[in-house]
C-alpha cells in the first residue's frame, strides 16, 4: 500500500524550462491537492481536484496548471519555470465520506524538491 507517491523527488530546472510533477494515489480518493512549502512557512494550496476531469484554483495558482485525467493521478505543470517557483511541492489526497461530510483528513506524499536557477 504505497499511499501517495510523488515523482520526481528532486529536480533542478533552468528559468523558462517546463516540467510536470506527477502525483499518484492508490487509495481510491476522490479529492487531490497540490501545495507548495517555502522555507520556514506553512503549506499553501496551488490547485485541487474534487474528481476525475475537474480542477479548481487554490490560494496561489498563478504559473501552474493541473490535470486530472485519471482518478488516481494528479499532474502539476510549470509551463515556464521562474526562480520564485523554487519550493517543495506536496501532493495530497482525501476521500469523500457519505452523508455530506466531505472534508476528511488529507494524506500527503513526501514532496518534490524543485530548484529553478
Amino acid at each position: 500500500n504505497a499511499g501517495v507517491t510523488q515523482t520526481p523527488k528532486f529536480r533542478v530546472l533552468k528559468t523558462g524550462q517546463s516540467m510536470t510533477l506527477l502525483c499518484a494515489q492508490d487509495m481510491n480518493h476522490e479529492y487531490m491537492y497540490w501545495y507548495r512549502q517555502d522555507p520556514g512557512m506553512g503549506l499553501r494550496l496551488i490547485h485541487y481536484s474534487v474528481g476525475e476531469g475537474t480542477t479548481a484554483k487554490g490560494e496561489v495558482p498563478d504559473g501552474y496548471n493541473v490535470s486530472r485525467l485519471k482518478k488516481q493521478n494528479f499532474l502539476l505543470g510549470l509551463e515556464s519555470a521562474a526562480p520564485s517557483q523554487t519550493s517543495v511541492y506536496f501532493c495530497a489526497s482525501s476521500y469523500l465520506r457519505s452523508g455530506g461530510y466531505s472534508n476528511q483528513p488529507q494524506h500527503f506524499g513526501d514532496g518534490t524538491r524543485l530548484s529553478i536557477l
Binding site: 479529492y31 503549506l43 506536496f90 466531505s102 488529507q106 494524506h107
Partner: protein, 115 residues
C-alpha cells in the same frame, strides 16, 4: 477560514507530556479542528481531528473547551522521534458538493524533544 495562532516553538525532555495549545477565536459552527505532524523532508501526517470535548487515539489526545475558541493537542510521554512541526488547522466539516477542504497551514509549532 478561521485563523489559528499557536506557539512558534516548544522544548521538552523525553518522557514528558507535551501540550500544544492553538487559538482559533473566529471558529465557525461547522468548523472542525485537525492537527498534523510534519517531520523534515516529509509531508504532513494526520494526527487527530475533533469538533468538541475530548478525542483520543493511539497517538494523542485533543481537548476542546465548550466555547471551541482554542484546542490543546496532548502528546503523552514524548520521545526523540516526536521532534517535528505540529500544525493546527480549522476547516468547515461540511463542504458544498463539488468543493473540497481548502486547508490553510500556518507556520506550526516546532517541537524539540531532547534527552
Amino acid at each position: 477560514l478561521a485563523k489559528t495562532t499557536q506557539p512558534i516553538s516548544m522544548d521538552s525532555y523525553e518522557g514528558q507530556e507535551v501540550n500544544i495549545t492553538c487559538s482559533h477565536n473566529n471558529i465557525a459552527t461547522n468548523d472542525y479542528i485537525t492537527w498534523y505532524q510534519q517531520f523534515p523532508s516529509q509531508g504532513p501526517r494526520f494526527i487527530i481531528q475533533g469538533y468538541k470535548t475530548k478525542v483520543t487515539n493511539e497517538v494523542a489526545s485533543l481537548f476542546i473547551p465548550a466555547d471551541r475558541k482554542s484546542s490543546t493537542l496532548s502528546l503523552p510521554r514524548v520521545s526523540l522521534s516526536d521532534t517535528a512541526v505540529y500544525y493546527c488547522l480549522v476547516g468547515d466539516r461540511r463542504a458544498e458538493t463539488g468543493t473540497a477542504s481548502k486547508l490553510t497551514f500556518g507556520t506550526g509549532t516546532r517541537l524539540q524533544v531532547t534527552l
